[in-house]
């Protein structure tokens, strides 16, 4: 990334002043993060009062762990939605990666690092195809990814021929289940998510690319006029989405030790990830992305769904609970931002 530093390149500072940059961004920060944290804490306390185990360390650990895969996909989705796009093909990309890496590990003992490489390649290639179709052929994103959804899910069958992953080598299991250090009980997937979140947050807020994404989401023509490379930015956004979906697939296969042809597509990861991004405060109309909100949204969803189990709600109502939650958070969020606009 090169910036044009016209006459004021002398303004270079050694480190960005946290105080100042925060001031710049204060006005546009939504209260969404705080709302989600408060809501999650309220649920934790309320359900915890009924059943103490809900707030046990173990349970919280698993609520976080269970949200990791979906949050990874949703982070990629957040990038796409921020440009006013949508990516339905994340589900088969995730499934394909899980199946390919899992089968290679199971069959020929592919080392973990190789699995990362393969995940990266799958995510990049499939994401780039989406991106090129959207940006070069100017097909609406929902149509592009609807089409590639079918095609990519076919690839899973072609590759696996229906064979499923039952077990992964120890290194994979360690990656999926281990903790950072014996004395530091943070699971490695959570660490992975934290790293990805930091990168996404940093990239969206502090890199030219991130700003280009938001500019395109706000007003693509104006962004082009201002010198933002619309096409390459769009392509990259779908690449990121693909790579994160692929990474989610790898984490999935390591964490659960299993993968089938319906991994990803069977759980409707594409719809779930959109829901999580929107719960997190990203605007479906584009131009506003909230990475921290997305991860908090994934976490909140996990807390709510677990709370339903602890409250002995019949399982058939779980998805209704999820639907109601999407409706409430997103609608309230819109109310909030409209109120802000009116003032």
């Amino acid at each position: 990334m090169k910036a044009s530093m016209t006459e004021t390149s002398g303004f270079k500072t050694v480190a960005p002043s946290v105080k100042d940059s925060r001031a710049t961004r204060r006005a546009r920060r939504e209260t969404r993060e705080i709302t989600l944290i408060v809501a999650a804490v309220v649920v934790l306390l309320a359900v915890g009062a009924i059943n103490h185990r809900f707030v046990s360390f173990e349970n919280i650990r698993f609520m976080v762990l269970n949200s990791v895969v979906l949050s990874l996909v949703a982070l990629g989705q957040t990038w796409v939605i921020a440009t006013k796009g949508i990516d339905l093909s994340v589900a088969p990309i995730m499934g394909l990666t899980a199946v390919v890496t899992g089968l290679l590990a199971q069959g020929s003992g592919l080392p973990l690092i190789g699995a990362f490489g393969i995940a990266l390649v799958i995510g990049l290639v499939l994401g780039t195809i989406n991106g090129l179709l959207v940006a070069r052929l100017t097909i609406p994103p929902i149509i592009v990814t609807l089409g590639t959804y079918s095609i990519y899910s076919g690839l899973i069958f072609i590759y696996s021929n229906g064979t499923q992953v039952d077990q992964v080598p120890a290194a994979y299991a360690a990656f999926g289940n281990g903790r950072i250090a014996p004395w530091l009980p943070i699971p490695i997937p959570v660490l992975t998510l934290a790293i990805v979140l930091f990168l996404c947050w940093f990239a969206l807020g502090y890199t030219l690319f991130g700003r280009a994404v938001l500019a395109i989401g706000n007003n693509a023509v104006a962004a082009y006029n201002a010198g933002v490379s619309v096409i390459s930015t769009q392509v990259r956004v779908y690449m990121i989405s693909g790579v994160l979906a692929a990474l989610a697939g790898l984490v999935f296969v390591c964490y659960t030790g299993s993968a089938t042809v319906t991994t990803g597509t069977g759980d409707h990861v594409e719809l779930q990830s959109i829901a999580v991004a929107l719960i997190g405060g990203t605007a479906i109309a584009g131009g506003r992305g909230n990475m921290i909100g997305t991860v908090l949204g994934g976490l909140f969803l996990s807390v709510i769904l677990t709370a339903l189990v602890f409250l002995h709600v019949p399982p058939i109502w779980y998805s209704a609970g999820e639907g109601a939650m999407i409706l409430v958070t997103v609608t309230l969020g819109m109310r909030q931002s409209r109120a802000g606009k009116a003032s």
């Binding site: 990334m1 090169k2 910036a3 044009s4 949508i86 179709l133 940006a135 052929l137 100017t138 097909i139 609406p140 929902i142 149509i143 592009v144 609807l146 089409g147 590639t148 959804y149 079918s150 095609i151 899910s153 076919g154 690839l155 069958f157 072609i158 030219l208 690319f209 700003r211 280009a212 693509a220 023509v221 082009y224 010198g227 933002v228 490379s229 619309v230 096409i231 390459s232 930015t233 719809l271 959109i274 829901a275 929107l278 479906i284 109309a285 019949p314 058939i316 109502w317 779980y318 998805s319 209704a320 609970g321 639907g323 109601a324 999407i326 409706l327 997103v330 609608t331 819109m334 409209r338």
Partner: protein, 350 residues
């Protein structure tokens, strides 16, 4: 922007033939497809009756697509068609089994349920100002749960034969009832969207909702009614499916969603609203439906068929965008940008 100097007004310049370029291409493709399959795939053509009979396997998709078209023409989307189809069918079955109502009355109540569910969608969208995508995503989860709860462990099955004929039977052993239903609905929707006041309003709102409001149209009411139509058609499709299977299941509508969106979009309806005709959607329904049946009979697996459908969607829309330049205004804008940009943007933020 060329102004035609013409003091005497020609009444009409276009032809009255109800098919546009896109629909004609789809029709031609359909003819080629059917002819090709009849010749090339043994077992595909087995008398006119069996050929028509094939349509029974995919027309419920078409029924949903008709309703969904109206929603997409307003510029919205309805992701809850699948769960509404399931729920409508289950409500019907429960009325029939639980309250021992006549099956046809139950079916009517099932369709009515779809209308109510669609109305709920419409109210959420117009009253709470929620994006259609989010609202219907959320309600699809909720309706799914309600359907599962209503269905219980052993969903009703084994409907009377008179009812099963709707999904499985033929008139005189030749023309399936489903096909008759679909043709009637297709004609109805085609007239509704192209010739009725309601259709005019839907199209106008899809193109420019603000202008519609300034023309005194009750925009929220029209938008809400589009979702009611979509819900009604989804439930009707659910009931046809129930008859086709002679059984109901809460998840039986799940497969409808992605395929029907594909059909509507391939039919030439712009995902941004306004643009598109029912005739195109009907062609796309037949095209994709016959394609799937033909490929399965030819021995291709379900997976290959799915992939080919995806590829056709992408190719068709790409061609449509590039060649005709019709359709998505957004796309055209970018095309224009690209030509201006010439690929060389010196100060690009990269």
């Amino acid at each position: 922007m060329k102004e035609v100097e013409n003091t005497v007004t020609a009444r009409r310049t276009g032809s009255r033939f109800p098919l546009d370029g896109w629909e004609r291409s789809l029709l031609a493709l359909l003819v080629v497809e059917i002819a090709g399959f009849c010749i090339g795939i043994p077992g595909f053509y087995d008398g006119i009756g069996s050929l028509l009979g094939l349509t029974q396997n995919f027309l419920p998709f078409g029924i949903v697509a008709l309703g969904l078209s109206v929603v997409i023409l307003t510029g919205g989307i309805d992701l809850s068609v699948g769960s509404m189809a399931g729920l409508g069918a289950i409500v019907m079955a429960e009325f029939w089994q639980g309250l021992h109502l006549s099956i046809w009355l139950s079916a009517l109540l099932g369709v009515g349920t779809g209308a109510v569910l669609g109305w709920i969608n419409g109210m959420i969208i117009t009253r709470l100002n929620t994006e259609p995508l989010i609202a219907t995503l959320a309600t699809s989860f909720i309706y799914g749960s309600v359907g599962t709860a209503l269905a219980g462990e052993n969903p009703p099955a084994g409907f009377p034969d008179s009812f099963n004929a709707l999904g499985q039977g033929e008139v005189g052993g030749l023309i399936p009832y489903q096909l008759i239903l679909f043709v009637v609905l297709a004609i109805f929707f085609s007239l509704l969207m192209s010739r009725s006041a309601y259709g005019r309003k839907v199209v106008m709102i899809g193109y420019n909702g603000e202008a519609a409001r300034y023309s005194g149209m009750r925009v929220p009411r029209v938008i809400c009614s589009a979702y009611v139509i979509s819900g009604t058609m989804a439930a009707l499709a659910g009931i046809v499916l129930a008859s086709y299977y002679s059984a109901v299941r809460p998840d039986m509508g799940d497969i409808l969603l992605l395929t029907t969106i594909t059909m509507v979009v391939l039919g030439g309806v712009s995902i941004f609203g306004g643009e598109g005709r029912i005739a195109g959607v009907v062609m796309a329904v037949l095209l994709l439906g016959v394609l799937r049946q033909g490929m399965l009979i030819a021995g291709f697996s379900d997976m290959v068929t799915t992939m080919v459908t995806g590829a056709i969607l992408l190719t068709a829309i790409a061609i449509r965008n590039l060649v005709s330049g019709r359709g998505t205004g957004f796309a055209l804008l970018f095309l224009r940008l690209r030509r201006l940009g010439g690929g060389k943007v010196p100060e690009a933020a990269e």
